[in-house]
């Protein structure tokens, strides 16, 4: 099944952005991220902002990739499938070197698609991605040179994971920029900072 997606404006000038959501259990929803990319250009969001419910099955139903099985997040088959589906979407839409931004497990999917299609995508931003999931990516993804990459942690409590993620990638000779928010866990201040940092990094050409 192809991904269902939202598409703001296929004629919008500027940097096209593909936004990939997480499983709904992370610290950040897409609101802050969506604001960060607002105005950059066309935004494509596979099944973006479904309303989540407390029922685990409903949460799963809202995601275009199933985050399975259960609590630890994901597995190599599910993750690879999500990556391939995103690559298919990139092929179908022919966006022309879009930026990929993902939250939580969506961040790892963005990373996987960005690594597999390094020549065809622009910068990649991973927000609160788990270092453990990097090792679940297909080997081919970790073999090649990476895209321009920004790793973001939205809370001080995620700083250690951010460092670990960067080290993981460095072990595969994949370089990355990092940024972490150290203020209050949630709220306007954090979202504003996120908007400035991600938006700024993308506008500067993804750190280069």
């Amino acid at each position: 099944m192809k991904l269902a997606y939202r598409d703001t404006d296929s004629a919008a000038p500027g940097l096209p952005v593909v936004v990939l959501h997480g499983d709904g259990t992370g610290s950040i929803d897409l609101t802050g991220v969506a604001r960060a990319v607002d105005g950059l250009g066309r935004v494509v969001a596979p099944f973006g902002d479904y309303a989540h419910t407390a029922n685990g099955m409903e949460v799963a139903g809202t995601c275009w990739y199933r985050i399975l099985p259960g609590y630890e997040g994901t597995d190599p088959v599910s993750l690879t499938k999500a990556v391939v589906q995103v690559c298919d979407l990139l092929d179908d839409l022919a966006l022309g070197r879009p930026a990929l931004i993902g939250c939580g497990q969506g961040g790892v999917v963005a990373l996987g698609a960005g690594l597999l299609r390094a020549d065809e995508v622009g910068p990649v931003v991973c927000v609160d991605a788990s270092p453990a999931h990097v090792e679940l990516l297909p080997p081919a993804a970790l073999a090649g040179p990476g895209p321009r990459l920004l790793l973001v942690a939205t809370a001080a409590s995620r700083a250690a994971a951010l460092g670990e993620l960067r080290a993981h990638l460095a072990a595969h000779r994949i370089d990355s920029d990092t940024w972490q928010w150290s203020g209050d866990a949630e709220g306007q201040a954090r979202d504003d900072a996120l908007t400035r940092r991600i938006g700024g990094w993308l506008e500067e050409g993804g750190g280069r």
């Binding site: 939202r6 309303a51 407390a54 029922n55 099985p69 690879t80």
Partner: protein, 574 residues
Amino acid sequence: MAEPTDRLPLGERVAALAGLAHRPGARLSPAAPPSAVPEECDVVVAGSGAAALSAAAGALSRGASVVIFEKGPVHGGTTACSGGVAHIYANSVMQAAGIEDPRPEALAYMARVGYPATYDPDSPCLGLQPADHALLETYYDRGAEVMAGLAQIGAVRMEAPWLAWDGRMFPDYFEFPENRAVRGRGIQPLAPGGGAGNGGELVRQLMAFASRRGTEVRLGHRVVDLEMECGVTTGVVVDDGRACRRIRCHGGVVFGSGGFAHSPELRERFLRGPIAGGSGVPSNTGDLVDIGLRAGARFGGMHNGWWNQQVLEAVDDYANSVLDVWAIPGDSMVLVNRLGVRAVDEKREYESRGRVHHAFAGDEYVNRIMFMVYDQRTADRFGGRYPIPPPGAIADHVTSGSGVAGLTVALADRLRLTNAAMPPGIGPVGLVPGFAEALATTISRFNAMAEAGHDGEFGRGSKAVEFAFHGPAAPDNHLPNPLMYPIDTGGMLHAISLVGTTFDTDSGPLVGTNGQMLGASGPISGLYGAGNCVDGVFGEGYPGGGSTIGPGLVFGFLAGAHAAASSPRTGAGR
């Protein structure tokens, strides 16, 4: 709708990229790193879902040493993809809420749902074979006891009521005079922070218990054969992707290894009707079928499964769980077959909807595809509830057209594409000539029934379970039956193709009331099974949410405890 591409099937590309063999049923994880698997133990457990982990808990609680083998790349099996509900009679949640669940009525309910062809309330075994009746008695008598046992040893507390959206306990799936309880039989694990946990939480707690008792799940290890001496199971052969090795066990082997939903070959061989695949983990390929045959097990009905529906384009024997269509959202919506007529109460639970695909009428399986037809109003009001995409989404699995005529043309076009790539088990499907007229008639009849508030064809809106699945009524629906609303054929109509699938099968070797597999001349010493890999305790029925996990937990625990007691090191010996 996007143009078709010449891409290989998604599953094959995923498999190739992930470095896996791309054959359904093939190994799903890279070879496991060599690890120190003990050469002997008391109890071997195959699988890591509810049945397997409950068996491990039952054995560990009696002091046995246990080794757990999981052939997949992740632990938890189909349980970890689930809501973690167990259907348990007279459970502690019901007792606390003052809900009575008397034994005669509960047994009659299970018998009627599970064995509808032979059910006879006046016969001593309710029309069932005595062995099948005995399993239901054991399930009633020991279900709550096993839950208490799991809590007492600190494995998992199945003490949270399974609640519907309205905060009420979820009702059972069938309503008969003998079903006195109706609500409260579904229970979920208590989560650490309070409230109900899902299947992932159930697996996490059972694994944590095993870990505290010194047992881990060994991933990427597939039990491929048994070691038997003089009719007694003395060990297993395990393939870790690099080599096979023997592990000797002194008490027994418990299989909790899942059914065969993801084996196209076994589906074709055993199941009747067009079954497109499964919703559970792809490792559900029926390993126990051949192992049980070699061990001399007697088999139950091999045609049973937990039926449901999937979106046609989502079917994938290789995916790590495919989302089923848990409920059909919408009120201005009908399901029609290729003749353009309804065949089922659309708001019933997944099992009743799944079974309608098996119907043979005229000269064909007439319901191979059921088209979920809805108007723009339902698209707007129920968008975001799978499989209706959220408003504004561009979704490839939806076919749209203006009015009945436009939708019919679009659907016919669509089928020409999908027929080229139907999943195994489903042949090409076309609309009959006159589909548009038939659909128009169906909709106008439905609309009249919606205005009157009464579905004279299939009784839509007549059962509690339908309201639990539907969720809150649409705010603009003030009709007497909020599960129905007239379909507006003046605007855009949409259709999603659904096919019959299964969570997993529950067909396999017969087991006795202690979980022991049965051979031609009685129980096979040292060989046990529970959950979807063996003949299901509920026959062909699905009495309520948790009917898969409940028997897995109960008979898994009993089997593990019995196997532990059979080891000369921990029990009385054989």
